[in-house]
Assembly symmetry: C2
Homo-oligomer: 408 residues x 2
């Protein structure tokens, strides 16, 4: 019998009404003859509420106890959803991460799943019971509760789908699927029927937020088909898998963007002598996420390196550069704020060397200056002035034929 995994995020189980809706979606799948395992996040703002309670008793609480505290959030959702499913006449049992055999490494707050021993859940499914499993959590080999960190529920869903031999892992969320770009910004944005793991990975890493990159990577490594589907309305969503039919032979399949980007440029006194490694090591130690890096080493100008960061890390970067000025061996640094990053993503780029050129030409035509460029096999990113971002995305969306994608 076909098995599927359905995952419901926090907003899709935020209150009893939405839990009832999720239960109906589950029951519909059961009635169509499938065995169903469900993965749930904590209800809406529960995690934030628990964290604020923790802060009241100890503003520097340890990760072990935070895991013990936060793990209750999904357990509440799981039991409530199991009750709601039972209320619809379908047998359902909830399971915590450890009960479902989710074995993680011995790390609190950001553990990785090592193994899923799914016998217990598998037996429940075989006997016709829906298994509702807490996402985001597991236990280590010593029986310590662990949580998986951001995007953990998506990762739980994929790992459990793989262990159960599910045919697909449906991620129910509050959007209709994966779009060619953000429909809140660009009206012409179109929902994609399909997208490849690699494309989704680039889009997820670029902050599209629909699905966590860890989960996509996990699915890709095990070739588990994913589907991003809406929980609140009817809709087929977007399937994420390895081989896709190229809709309209599109080279570019999506445009991602990110606001609040800052460019930092560091000028060296002396020719390159290893300072570069020093700078990025120092930044990494302070958990600063550096994105695009461009180095200029020419005989005729002072050597420099530019890199982009998020605005929220700006103060920390300045602090690191200031307090390590001598060790890092640079003369001066400047920065530019008010920037944005726009990226075009598509597997078809690999065999289309003209894509980057087409992007540059499109932006030139609408008079948008390009501050930085970065390319990968299936992605080109440019840093541009933030006020021009919407115009840039709209122009590129049209240029690469995304306005006309069918399937929405």
């Amino acid at each position: 019998m076909e098995r599927i995994v359905m995952k419901f995020g926090g907003t899709s189980v935020a209150n009893p009404e939405r839990i009832a809706r999720a239960a109906q979606l589950v029951v519909r799948e059961v009635n169509s003859g499938k065995q169903v395992a469900v993965i749930v996040s904590a209800m809406g703002k529960t995690t934030d509420e628990l964290l604020s309670l923790a802060k009241e008793v100890n503003s520097a609480a340890g990760r072990r106890e935070l895991d013990m505290l936060l793990a209750t959030g999904e357990q509440v959702t799981a039991s409530l959803l199991a009750m709601a499913i039972s209320g619809e006449g379908v047998e359902a049992h909830s399971y915590t991460g450890w009960q479902a055999g989710v074995l993680t490494e011995s790390v609190h707050g950001n553990a990785r799943i090592e193994q899923v021993q799914a016998d217990r859940v598998s037996a429940a499914l075989t006997s016709g019971t829906v298994a509702v499993i807490t996402g985001f959590q597991g236990a280590d080999m010593h029986g310590e509760l662990t949580t998986l960190g951001r995007g953990g529920s998506d990762t739980s869903a994929v790992a459990i789908a793989i262990a159960l031999g599910a045919s697909i892992c449906d991620i129910y969320t509050d959007v209709e699927g994966v779009f060619t770009t953000d429909p809140r910004l660009i009206k012409q944005a179109q929902k994609l029927e399909e997208i490849s793991y690699d494309e989704m990975l680039e889009i997820a890493n670029l902050g599209a937020g629909v699905l966590h990159p860890r989960a996509v990577e996990f699915a890709k490594n095990h070739q588990m088909p994913l589907r991003v589907r809406p929980a609140h309305i009817e809709g087929e969503g977007t399937i994420i898998k390895e081989e896709i039919d190229l809709e309209n032979n599109l080279v570019v399949r999506g445009i991602a963007f990110e606001r609040d980007i800052v460019r930092i440029t560091v000028m060296y006194n002396v020719p390159y002598n290893g300072s570069l490694a020093n700078i990025f090591t120092a930044l990494a130690e302070h958990h600063v996420n550096v994105d695009i890096i461009v180095q200029t080493i020419r005989e005729d100008v002072q050597p420099s390196v530019s890199f982009s960061i998020k605005k929220e890390d700006f103060a920390e970067v300045i602090n690191v550069l200031e307090s390590n000025k001598e060790a890092l061996g640079y003369s001066r640094a400047d920065f530019e704020v008010g920037l944005a990053k726009v990226s075009i993503v598509g597997s078809g780029m690999v065999s289309n060397p003209g894509v980057a050129a087409s992007l540059f030409e499109t932006l030139r035509q609408v008079d948008i200056p390009i501050k930085m460029v970065s390319t990968s096999e299936i992605k080109v990113s440019v840093v541009i002035p933030e006020p021009e971002m919407e115009k840039a995305v709209a122009a590129l969306h049209e240029q690469f034929g995304l306005d006309a994608v069918k399937g929405k």
Copy 2:
């Protein structure tokens, strides 16, 4: 090194301030050189809030899922208290029931503890870590979460204290200790320094509410000393143990009372023929708790049986009697409402046959009619009109020398 168990009930951990206070009490014990395991209930009204959520998604939710849901309540408290203790500079880890090795029978909602495998908690204590354990819950041999039913946290505390070889199990609560009678009713009520298990058992069963009878019985069977102590103020509380020094050679050590008692009397058509068993079997099947039972079988009057119940069960009893009238074989029933039960308790009664007589005489002197009487080795209960209850308790409290108990 001396080990102790400290148990905090729901009101003693109802908010972050009270959790901080509990943490200070724990740290004080640690600093005095003891190894400490702490058992906690869910915060204040948490259990009620979770039950109301459950009702919203399924008004007839099954016990398995209710256990999964309710078990989160103590887990939240345990992790918060562990954080608060760590904040005071003392290492503390929280443990769920299953992590602490609390193995119960495979029953949901009202499981009994079968065994406590305390190795993990014991190792934590030995290493100088405070173990904060969720009360009220455990897991069965299949890894299913179970809850222990009413009074479960007290029972958890006693079972864990026994398994850890603790020297005492301190039950922190919102009262100062065990009193000769309820100080809210009788100003002269005195706090007792000590009381025996059997006396405490009678008082607990009589609804004094400080400590659950199951926990007292468990402690008695394993000779684990208990102490009921106040969490909100300083105070030594009351020690409950086997052998006590009879303070002032008191025969009666406490007076318990209960309002809202109803007397039912059932008259048979025919001589006793087994109807009695039928009636009480039918009532037990409907979970009606029958207290005092008095049967009258005389040649000269119609045979009858009277029994007392709580007012809350009245409708159910009428329903059971009505719908089984023929099967139960009785002609008519009458009832009397507006009654109360007053009980005197004391181990010394065993060797003092005049105690019951003294009780009757005291009530006669203040003109209080006695409706029913029941006696055990260490208790005499009478059912009287509820408006006379306070007068009765005050008279008995004085008569049996309790006004003058020292030690408060």
